[in-house]
């Protein structure tokens, strides 16, 4: 009888790994988390970002199509720390997705793995729109991006344990690339250590600390308030005193205001973004974004060097 071995062969063939699992559906609030999720997940995940890279991440319309995206999601990555407080809760109220409820393995609050700075000691809206848990724009510090990447890899591995090796390999690749590139970026910006850069909104403290720049002068008199002529005059005076030569502005903010300040102080305006794809030249992944930031800032700071 030859059926014996054939049967065993059949058992062997059937016991081979089944067809690849369906991809993990990952939804992130901001595009920087999407870039991290894509880097860690590779082709095992389908990633969507709810906010556009060119838009203000604090104000995303809670459109019904986003409810559908969240309803289908296996994973939700949010910045937390009140970054999305103006729109995400309204979406989550009607989403009915247990997989991304608070505490579920698919719900990642990125702020839980980073240490927030600028935590206010008192909460008072007369100080402007201050985030109660600290400054939530922490992703422009590559060290924080790595922490978030680790957390994302952990969550992906927990939900899709069959692909754990892939996630760990991707994480290692991301981590190694990041270590190398971080050294590069720091080297590129090292000559400008301690120099002051002017920003429109206070969303750069982590970037500043990591790369030795002083980004503590803002065109907004208080967070969320539009620039006033009196405040701008003060800013220009301070710029002249401290030799600040660069004004950085994000795509959704008023470039005209930044240009006018730059004109009066002999500074240069640099288009920056917090998200990959927010500015031309920063599309692609997290490294492209940071490459763009490091290069354009170094160029702007270096250009006018005496």
């Amino acid at each position: 009888m030859k059926t014996g071995p054939s049967l065993c062969l059949l058992v062997f063939l059937l016991s081979l790994p089944l067809a690849a699992h369906a991809k993990l559906k990952v939804v992130t609030t901001a595009p920087d988390f999407a870039a991290i999720a894509q880097a860690i997940g590779g082709d095992r995940v389908e990633v969507t970002a709810l906010a556009k890279p060119t838009g203000d991440p604090h104000f995303v319309d809670a459109k019904p199509s986003l409810i559908v995206k969240l309803n289908h999601a296996d994973v939700l990555i949010e910045g937390g720390a009140e970054l999305e407080i103006g729109w995400l809760p309204a979406l989550l109220q009607t989403t009915r997705n247990r997989r991304i409820a608070i505490g579920a393995p698919g719900r990642i609050l990125a702020n839980e793995v980073v240490e927030l700075s600028e935590v206010p000691t008192t909460l008072d809206r007369s100080r402007g729109d201050v985030h109660a848990l600290g400054n939530p724009h922490y992703m422009t510090d590559p060290v924080n991006a790595l922490r978030v990447a680790r957390r994302v890899a952990q969550a992906f591995s927990q939900l899709d344990s069959a692909s754990r090796e892939t996630y760990e390999a991707n994480l290692k690749k991301f981590s190694d690339t990041l270590e190398t590139k971080l050294a590069e970026w720091q080297k590129r910006l090292a000559p400008f250590k301690g120099q002051r850069v002017v920003a429109y909104h206070n969303s750069w403290p982590y970037f500043a600390r990591r790369f030795g720049l002083q980004i503590d002068l803002f065109l907004e008199p208080k967070p969320g308030l539009p620039p006033t002529p009196a405040h701008l005059a003060e800013v220009m005076t301070k710029m002249k005193e401290s030799g600040a030569r660069v004004v950085i502005v994000q795509p959704y903010l008023s470039r005209r205001t930044a240009e006018s300040v730059a004109r009066h102080t002999g500074a240069v305006v640099v288009d920056v973004a917090s998200f990959p794809g927010g500015v031309k030249g920063s599309e692609g992944d997290y490294f492209k974004l940071m490459d763009y930031l490091a290069t354009s800032l170094a160029k702007a700071l270096g250009e006018k060097a005496p």
């Binding site: 790994p17 060119t54 104000f59 409810i67 809760p89 009915r96 109660a132 720091q186």
Partner: protein, 498 residues
Amino acid sequence: MKGKRVLGWGVSLCLSALSLQAQETNQAGPVQQLQQQLRQLQEDLEQTQRRHRQQIEALQQQIDALQAGPPAQAAAPLAATTVPSPAQTGALPPAASAPELKPAWSPTAPITLLGGQRNYLNLSFDALFAAGSSTADDIPHLQLGGHDPVQRGFTAQNLEIVFEGNVDPYFRGQASLVGHINPEGEFHFEAEEAYLETIALPANLQVKAGQFLTEFGRINPTHPHTWSFVDVPLVAGRFFGAEGLRNPGARLSWMLPTPFYSELFFAVQNSQGGTAYSFRGAGHNHDGDEHNLLFGRERIDRETESLGDMLFAPRYAVSFDLTDNQTVLAGASAALGPNNSGTDTDTQIYGVDFMWKWKSPRHHGGFPFVAWQTEAMARRFEAGAFAEDEDGDGVLDVDLPRETLWDYGLYSQLTLGFKKGWVAGLRGDWVSGERGAFYPDPDRDTRWRVSPDLTWYPTEFSKVRLQYYYDDRDNIGVDHSVWMQFEFMLGSHAAHKF
């Protein structure tokens, strides 16, 4: 022969065993896993130690500075301002820049309520006021909403306290208690909404139960301070009354498994009370009349006797993203229930709503944007017969037959957020009805209205608005009104519904 067979079996079994083992989730050997974990633990321990060292240093510096003398405002810079080495993936120091001295607590200090995800209850207070005037003689009848400006001078339209939070892993709860001050200076306080909503039922269902505004169209379920205009559109005011259509009840909704948003709603609510104007309601709020008339007829007592006496409100809503920056939302709603103008009379209200919005991809705070919203409604009201001899002279002064009254109306509003914090709007209202036996009836006669308005939002927590009305009422005439409105909000950040 037998040996070969045994060998064949053995090899196949071994191969099967190997492949099965290969499918085990622990693909890296257990020893390697432990090593990885140990390495991770070591790293974490080093990080923690480094962090603690930095904290201790920072605290020591602060103590030194304080001991050195008074105002230690800009205390010694923390390790924060020094650049950590590239290899250091360690923790960041706890607080950046100049640490603030926490003010000593005093009983007069305001209570600060943390926002975000740090408290069990989100509390907020919203106050909405209007000021202005109108050429109309009967402002309380001109303005149909209970929270509309109803007098020359100032009106405290809406003083609203909202409680919101997750009750437990199964439910979310929300309540809004609203007060307003009427022209006589009396303060009226009521529970506008208090309900729970399930968080995650299977099959994409959701249940809402409690006291809530019926989800009909786009104006009725919303609170006055979220509107783009000072007062309620005519058609909503006429059909739902001064307080809107709201009552205790329960609502089931099902999100259909379509790639685009589409949702079915079905609500069952009480159909009586001052908040069920077109049903077994109580009279118009601003009426000084004792007769409590509706379309010339007195409202009668009509008890809730069966399930058929409840208010049923089905709705279907669908939404598409036309492009990355444009969204449309359309819906159809109905409200069906008994009314108390007769013993067996019913009301049916039907409505369709449509919203289109464009927002710039480079929006700042949501600006610039353009939004267009339109709603059209029709009401079929079975009116009972009503006869009355008012002056007791044996002759009927009022003799109205049983009839079916049809009313229609629509409004359309265009809002333009042209600059951050600035919105210009234009709204047109039109309402009319088939002439009934009781005529003229200011609650049913043709009326149309145009109003431009301009709103300034200094931040998302306050607003100032200016609005003008051109109002044409059949059998009454044309009136002009100018209203200014201002609002402030305290407390937890309210998330904005689309």
